[in-house]
């Protein structure tokens, strides 16, 4: 009996369809783990850092659906508006050329807008390593 059973076992192919399935699943898991490890975390949200005269005076989390104005005692003429679509922009300034307002909305990590005469600067940063999230390094 034992000999027959061993013979029958010996006749079975060493690698059967179930084994191939296990092999496939393990390979798939390894591949997914590898891809997950290599991919940067998707940006959960960005922060607009607002500087006056080189000093950070406000950090605005750009959350979906939140819309409001930001005013600053340092420069009462400056109005920065946070939009519901996770962008932010200068909307009012007493500067001569209004380049700041015309820069429009920004929201991507790495982008920035400035009101040079009023020494105001908005920089968008990702929640994690900003440079890794940036699709572009700079904009011309």
């Amino acid at each position: 009996m034992k000999d027959r059973a061993e013979t029958a076992r010996d006749r079975r192919p060493f690698f059967r369809s179930r084994d191939a399935l296990v092999l496939f699943l393990v390979l798939l898991t390894a591949l997914l783990l590898f891809l997950a490890a290599g991919k940067s975390p998707s940006p959960a949200g960005c922060v607009a850092k607002i500087y006056f005269d080189g000093k950070l005076i406000e950090s605005v989390r750009l959350s979906q659906g939140i819309e409001r104005d930001w005013l600053f005692p340092e420069r009462p003429s400056i109005v920065i508006h946070q939009y519901a679509d996770q962008t932010i922009a200068f909307v009012s300034s007493d500067c001569p050329d209004h380049v700041c307002v015309r820069t429009g909305r920004i929201g991507q990590p790495g982008t920035f807008a400035a009101c040079v005469p009023n020494r105001f600067l908005i920089v968008i940063e990702g929640e994690t390593d900003s440079s890794e999230q940036e699709d572009v390094d700079l904009v011309a």
Binding site: H98, V123, V139
Partner: protein
């Protein structure tokens, strides 16, 4: 039969032979996984090896050339970065003061001095003579479409833009008669650079120089070259649409990706293209930021020397070139001519490539298209 079959399968899976096969399959799979991932892991390690040696730092410099300048540098550490940043900041401010036409420079002679003393020779620093000669050369190449001696005309438009932007109810445009009178004092032949004596003379007393079309790009190029000479391997300077990169992006181990601004951005499509470049300048001039509105019409800050009126051919022009000063000049020149004329002018500047935006139309030279990674037509 079906139930037996399941039973049989269960039996085979958990029999000693089944466990052996399963273990073999798992070990084999792990070995294959490890083997497959090995080259990729090595590549990833190589990618991070460089940033481990060179760290990414960035800073903003607000003020010089009336713009916010973003600097990204890969250096061995914060101390080295701070030394570079200080150098860049001081250089931008120094060149800003040297090329300033509105304020006197504490260092001494600057461009305002030359304008203030029109009619008489002015002892000039060599760097100022370099810029003026560069500007004269640009004007010659562009058939006079870019003219640094047009300050008297540009000042009329500058005043109109500032007043109209600050107080829309007082908006106005300069009258054509005043513009034509001012244009009588814009002959580039009246700008005399005497290298032997170290002087610049504006022979026309009413002439005023204005280097706004070239100065920022020229300064960026000058600073970028000094950084490269000092050993910087990887960095980028963005001076308000005037981008110059050194080497490649060490952090990503690939060329720098420079977005081309959409001058008609409605908040949804901020970029019209993305160019991948190394050791290049990418510069854009457009009508989207520096303009004013009068009677419902938009007036650009770029003025055509032939009509004395604002540019109207394109919404923006972007140039990729090795030299940021050349790129800055070409964006202005090409804004002031048709695309066909622009392509002819580009033919005299090997290696310079252009992209034009007019409304929803985006066109570019084949060379520019290659920088975007798209196949040629």
């Amino acid at each position: 039969m079906g139930i037996r079959g399941i039973s049989e399968k269960k039996g085979s899976a958990f029999s000693s032979a089944g466990i052996a096969r399963l273990a073999a399959a798992v070990i084999l799979a792990l070995l294959i996984s490890a083997f497959c991932c090995l080259p990729l892991s090595c590549r990833a390690a190589n990618q991070t090896a460089s940033p481990a040696a060179l760290q990414r730092f960035e800073a903003f410099i607000t003020g010089p050339f009336d713009t916010a300048i973003k600097v990204i540098l890969f250096t061995a550490g914060e101390e080295e970065f701070n030394a570079y940043r200080l150098f860049i900041e001081e250089e931008f401010w120094r060149l800003h003061r040297l090329f300033d036409i509105y304020h006197d420079a504490p260092e001494g002679v600057n461009l305002k001095t030359v304008n203030d003393h029109a009619g008489t020779p002015v002892d000039c620093p060599g760097e100022l003579m370099d810029l003026i000669e560069f500007g004269i050369g640009c004007g010659g190449e562009a058939g006079g479409r870019v003219n640094i001696a047009m300050g008297s005309v540009l000042s009329l438009w500058h005043d109109a833009r500032e007043i109209s932007s600050a107080s829309p109810d007082r908006a106005y445009i300069p009258d054509q008669k005043s513009l034509e009178e001012a244009a009588g004092h814009t002959s580039i032949r009246d700008v005399v650079v005497d290298r032997a004596r170290g002087t610049v003379t504006l022979k026309d007393r009413m002439m005023r120089l204005d280097v706004g079309a070239i100065a920022k790009g020229y300064a960026v190029e000058k600073i970028a070259r000094q950084l490269a000479r000092r050993g910087l391997q990887s960095g980028a300077i963005d001076a308000g649409g005037n981008v110059r990169v050194i080497g490649r992006n060490e952090g990503k181990n690939k060329p720098w990706r420079i977005g081309i601004n959409n001058p008609l951005d409605n908040g949804r499509t901020p970029l019209v293209e993305i160019a991948s470049v190394e050791d290049r300048a990418v510069v854009t001039s457009g009508n989207d930021q520096r303009f004013f509105i009068f009677e419902g019409r938009r007036y650009s800050h770029i003025i055509d020397p032939t009509t004395l009126q604002p540019a109207h051919f394109h919404d923006s022009v972007s140039i990729i070139a090795e030299d940021s000063g050349i790129a800055d000049f070409l964006t202005t020149a090409l804004m002031l001519m048709t695309e066909e004329e622009g392509r002819i002018l580009l033919g005299r500047f090997p290696g310079c490539e252009a992209l034009w935006v007019r409304g929803s139309s985006v066109t570019m030279t084949e060379g520019f298209r290659r920088f975007t990674g798209q196949a040629g037509d």
